[in-house]
Symmetry: C2
Subunit: 212 residues, 2 copies
């Protein structure tokens, strides 16, 4: 059974497009060593074969350090890689269809971008609801409109499921996301573009706890 | 149990990028009415949610007319849509990994582009081997180098599995592909860009049988 860490938690997303020659497994190991308990692997452009290879490496690295590894978008790849869960967006397969494809107890997360989607997520078989982009983001090719901490506050009133804030989060604004109701913050650029992703993770975690 | 039609057969591939406002289900119905016994649905750029919706419509249309519907690339979508099989390429998930994800008796096809890939396909748990591009093609964004009917002849000596020629096939060259060893010919543009896809299918089937 895969369980989210206790709030407030930092949820790193390792995007293959931001690896710059590093392996996903290597970054996952760094982040897990720094304390990340759940890490997502994301690849919007990689071939399925490459994605599976990176996912397998990432799962092994995460599990070696006691962390969970969630695969973005693809239940088939998650199952083949032995991952702990899947995260889907509004254009991906419906969580109600994905859930039966996964092993019992797998984590399933869903991205939402407005109050209606949050309300529907509350009724869906998901373990957490991601809300965003909370701040302007640079790591998505065509980001949805920025929703601000306001949607987090609204979401908090619409669901008791764990909320994960996503989009442009860094050590300087993580506490604001927490204050608006986020249980966790998903972070991409502020970790993957940092010279030392492990140190950046610890800085984020400290900033988040300071604002709790 | 999904079984390929008797050779020589035309294997239409309905690419969502070539629909021009038509529904996949509508084109599948036209082709199945014209005699297609197996049809593939392909979408390289659609969202997973759209792909699944189109796949469900295509499966229903195919089954109404007694045809099989194969989904390109994605075992998860194929399973969710109730499709009869999956076709994968060299960059997709390995057939040995895909096979256990599919229901018993599902069709599994693999694209190959050189003799080494054909030999490996012969040892893989696949029901047919696609070989190509046999002729220059316009329906793929970054096509592999043209292999000519020569690779079909080589493939015929390397495997007893059904061979499907693909790439730039039309009524004028289908018989040449058949003569080089193809059991079937996969056709995209010559069907989807035709004013009357059903008539184009019948013309192709006749050309193929003339060359048998």
């Amino acid at each position: 059974l895969a369980v989210l860490p206790r709030p407030p938690f930092v949820y790193p997303i390792v995007d293959l497009a931001l690896l710059e020659g590093r392996s996903a497994a290597g970054i996952v190991a760094l982040l897990a060593e720094a304390g990340a308990a759940v890490i997502q692997l994301r690849a919007k452009r990689a071939s399925d074969r490459l994605l599976l290879a990176e996912a397998r490496g990432a799962v092994a690295a995460a599990h070696r350090h006691g962390a969970l590894l969630v695969v973005n978008d693809r239940p088939d790849v998650a199952v083949l890689a032995g991952a702990d869960g899947v995260h889907v967006g509004q254009d991906d397969l419906d969580p109600a269809l994905v859930r039966p494809l996964l092993p019992e107890g797998a984590l399933l997360g869903l991205s939402t971008h407005d109050a209606g989607q949050v309300a529907r997520a509350d009724a869906a078989p998901v373990d957490y609801v991601a809300v965003g982009p909370v701040f302007p983001t640079s790591s998505k090719e065509r980001p949805d409109p920025v929703v601000g901490p306001e949607l987090l506050r609204t979401a908090r009133s619409l669901t008791r499921r764990p909320l994960v804030a996503i989009g442009g989060i860094h050590a300087g604004n993580a506490a604001a996301a927490r204050a608006a109701g986020a249980d966790g913050v998903a972070v991409i650029s502020a970790l993957l573009r940092a010279a030392d992703p492990g140190a950046a993770f610890r800085e984020l975690q400290a900033a988040l706890q300071g604002g709790a």
